[in-house]
């Protein structure tokens, strides 16, 4: 199975611009299905990015983050060819992680 995480990290001078997409339903627990039954809350709680063994960004998500979350952030000191790792864990204890090289 393919990873749920896609990252595009591009070095621009001393800044690395990171864009990431995670495939996840991000169900808020407020929405009903076609039979009128509430779809239980199912959302990523924490999405963390690491570079060189250090955290570079932490997102603590709530129910209001859109389906298939997109995130963009920028950090200093990243080098082309080195890897960024993203990991997430959701409210049901499911998780995934992936590493991508900085371009």
């Amino acid at each position: 199975m393919a990873s749920s995480i896609r990252i595009r990290a591009v070095q621009q001078g001393d800044i690395v611009d990171v864009k990431a997409l995670v495939r996840h339903p991000m169900d808020s627990g407020f929405v009903k299905d076609s039979n009128g039954k509430i779809i239980p809350a199912h959302f990523i709680e924490t999405l963390v990015f690491e570079y060189g063994g250090k955290r570079i960004f932490v997102a603590d998500y709530g129910r209001a983050v859109s389906k298939d979350p997109f995130i963009e952030f920028k950090f200093k000191g990243g080098k082309k060819g080195q890897s960024i790792t993203a990991k997430w864990v959701d409210n049901k204890g499911k998780s995934d992680q992936a590493s991508y090289k900085i371009m």
Partner: protein, 162 residues
């Protein structure tokens, strides 16, 4: 996967190795392994608050924030689809440690929160759901003090009620 790529405008092509580590590190291991990803733990109490002031107090320790033009919030004037409202926050402030977004008219006030380690820019862009038209409030913690800015977003079709 094709649909996911479409969401991103086709710009997020795979560029490296990835692994699918299912439940490996969330289900087992020691407590420290289970909690490696939390700096202070997921802020459950703040996320369970219905009122913005209560959520801010739980998350930041205070609901007092100074209005500042050094915090910029980019969001649409009108969101045609409340399920996907793009917002970008940028701060021209030193020592930014946390950024949070509050949407007072949503069922739960706190929408998302970020921890910004040293060396990371005080900038973040993402997409949130809005139940109906509401102010969107961005709060930035800089050198232990809170600064905020807000913008009203009208919503044509709500994103929380299905």
């Amino acid at each position: 996967m094709g649909r996911l790529l479409a969401v991103g405008g086709g710009t997020l092509a795979a560029v490296g190795a990835s692994s699918y580590g299912t439940l490996a590190w969330a289900a087992g291991g020691s407590d420290s392994e289970k909690n490696w990803h939390f700096v202070k733990g997921w802020p459950k109490k703040a996320y369970d608050e219905k009122k913005t002031a209560d959520a801010m107090k739980d998350f930041f320790g205070t609901s007092e924030a100074t209005k500042s033009d050094k915090v910029s919030l980019t969001a649409p004037d009108i969101a045609e689809n409340g399920a996907v409202v793009p917002i970008t926050i940028q701060a021209k402030l030193p020592k930014v440690t946390r950024i949070a977004v509050f949407i007072p008219k949503n069922p739960y006030a706190m929408a998302v929160a970020y921890e910004i380690p040293q060396g990371t820019e005080p900038f973040v862009s993402n997409r949130v759901k809005m139940a109906k038209g509401s102010d969107v409030i961005a709060v930035v913690e800089s050198d232990g003090k809170l600064y905020k800015t807000s913008k009203h977003v009208k919503v044509t079709v709500g994103g929380c009620g299905g």
